[in-house]
Symmetry: C2
């Protein structure tokens, strides 16, 4: 008789964003004329940079020409893209990452989930709370947790609360931790980590032989020159950290699909039989066996992000969304809402007014203002009473959203 992975049965309800989609669809069905503005899921709205469009057209033409056609590419990605990343994202910031430490993939969501394939079953795993749900759900699926309590906290995971009270910067864990997920600029709170904060984590990881899974999907939004873009800007991080990056938000690739993961070769782990094992080798084996590389066309598009035109155009995109974030911040603050993030990140994190719970405020905003945001509690128990708005939208919609928001809370 076939056995299923019963860990799936521990998962609470649907994954957050499908649940939001369900409520929105149901509202739209019963209010077909409502002009709903979506600031929920962090999905971009502006078209791809023209440099990317041009490069993808050229790649499509190659795929139609026998002499230039490409079949299976390297599972790890093409050198033309890995080289550009090593140079632009790392060498330019004084960080030495070699091209073959970079694995091109079709998404950071996939990679942050799949990375568990190479880790053992008995790690003590820490996450911030609130947190991007994928880190938690994939650990539940992998059997690394017990059941969830009534607030959604899974037994066995170590939650590090981040709230206004601790300035959204967690204390170091006071119990042993083997794997720690960090995301900066943070999703959902929009806060960043200083060099000092990251140094503390790297030192902790080195001391405790722990692994940092560093999600830097939003690094392009960092405007403050003092804030590190990569954890590898911290001395010694290459021995303790894997970093996840994405083209989704910096160049609008959410529907085009390209990301990458850095696994330094100096990242070694000791096995139960005292053998030294390279995580780079394990991830390479995992990717060679369970992945077949990213579409050639898409990789050429990602490469074009690094061209002079691509850089200029993607920086303009980022500046546009950051201006949206500023308008949201200022508009909400003007009516007395406590707002966090939104400076070095495309997310604005706010305290719900009038003691609304996160989901009640979601329904209130949807029903009365036809605005969609993301309930803070969907990101974890400590997100209760908070709410996330995304700056990914047209200027017109952002301005209209601010007006509607101000109207219902004042």
């Amino acid at each position: 008789m076939t056995a299923v992975n019963e860990n799936f049965l521990k998962l609470k309800a649907g994954y957050l964003f499908p649940e939001i989609a369900r409520r929105v669809n149901s509202f739209v069905e019963s209010h077909p004329d409502a002009q709903v503005i979506k600031l929920g899921i962090g999905d971009v709205t502006e078209p791809l940079p023209q440099a990317v469009i041009k490069a993808m057209h050229a790649a499509v033409d190659e795929m139609g020409d026998r002499s230039k056609f490409r079949g299976y590419g390297p599972e790890q990605g093409y050198a033309f893209l890995r080289d550009k990343i090593a140079e632009h994202d790392f060498a330019s910031r004084g960080v030495t990452i070699s091209a073959d430490e970079i694995f091109i993939s079709d998404g950071s969501k996939c990679d942050t989930g799949n990375i568990l394939d190479i880790l053992g079953k008995d790690n003590h795993i820490a996450v911030l709370d609130p947190v991007y749900p994928v880190y938690v759900d994939t650990n539940v699926m992998a059997g690394h947790t017990g059941s969830a309590d009534s607030e959604g906290r899974y037994q066995g995971l170590i939650y590090l609360p981040v709230t206004a009270e601790n300035d959204f910067t967690p204390e170091l864990p006071d119990e042993p931790v083997d794997v720690i997920y960090l995301c900066y600029p943070n999703n959902p709170t929009g806060v960043v980590a200083t060099k000092e904060t990251l140094t503390k984590w790297v030192e902790y990881a080195r001391e405790h032989h722990a692994l940092i899974l560093f999600d830097a999907a939003y690094e392009a939004f960092i405007t403050d020159p003092e804030i590190p873009h990569s954890i590898y800007e911290i001395e010694g991080a290459q021995e303790v950290a894997i970093e996840f990056r994405s083209f989704s938000k910096n160049a609008g690739f959410t529907g085009t699909r390209c990301a990458f993961t850095v696994v330094p070769k100096s990242l070694m782990v000791t096995t139960s039989t005292e053998k030294q094992v390279s995580l780079h080798q394990l991830w390479n084996r995992r990717q060679s066996t369970k992945f077949n590389g990213v579409s050639y066309i898409v990789q050429r598009g990602a490469e074009a992000v690094y061209s002079p035109e691509g850089q200029e155009q993607s920086k303009a995109l980022i500046a546009f969304y950051l201006d949206n974030a500023r308008l949201l911040r200022e508009g909400l603050e003007a009516v007395g809402i406590s707002v966090y993030g939104g400076v070095n990140a495309p997310y604005v994190w706010l305290k719900t007014p009038q003691a609304f719970t996160s989901w009640d405020f979601f329904d209130e905003l949807l029903n009365k203002a036809h605005l969609v945001g993301t309930p803070g509690s969907g990101f974890g128990a400590s997100g209760e009473g908070y709410f996330r708005l995304s700056a990914f939208n047209s200027r017109e919609n952002i301005e209209e959203a601010v007006k509607r928001f101000q109207k219902i809370v004042s």
Copy 2:
């Protein structure tokens, strides 16, 4: 201290194809003038159908136009593609599969590996021998096996030998099996399964509450009208089988990346607490959490495979490769080689001459004829003494390969 997944350490050497690439690269480095013809990895050589090129250009343009731009798509794939698949691949053959039972993905290799995420740890798992290595390696990684013996057979897996002696059609297992991988048209042997053979398996699975993982990546190569293209052509299969399909070989998508997996809603499994669980729901949850959908551009390309022009052009591609397979078959038979497959499949499976082992014959062919094939033993212990040639190449190269092959074996 971070624990790694030590099951990875049980894996024998590299994954087959990287090992072949390594030997070929090393040969080419020392023989820079050799005109090597590659009939190893099953990678297409002809450009994408023009209908696909046209559709992808249009999709790229949409991604550059704000009013048509697409961000995150449904993790399960766009309805425009799922509907076409349901109609053309299933309804047209009298099989009722609904569009929402079809999950679009970036590759069958990924799906056949990832499917283990939703299955339990204690299944008795059967594979044919020889077999596509991904089925085995992903089970090793997931901890479903012990170590490998000297012939590469992993403890705990049930191997069903397929050789010339049993006409490459395995007996039903004589020990309990909960999960069975079947691939037809078969990789690597190129043989197909009749309706009777598949019916026997479906009946076995129904009787033993087992799950069939049916890999139909090569179905487009079936020329015999009596051979089923889908396992769902067998009555009752929707209650016991998951089917994997790909655009890689029928439309040349190996470097473009699109595939799909069918998980019927009637596929239910009983848990240890006697609950009925739907594998469709589990897979949907897995994909929503760990995957973000296939590039919009690529999905539009795949959709175009089903247009009248796309159908005509992809059928011409298939016919071209099948003609290559015929030339290989006939050319090898003419010098007394025993050849199997290559009629309803793009692979020709041959008995190595002069009692060569598979890897010795690989080196012989590479060194003396500058031909690359795949050693049968790379697919499993029972593949020893066999060798696979792929029909994916230009006509000129196939004709030249036949000549060179004939020269060294006669």
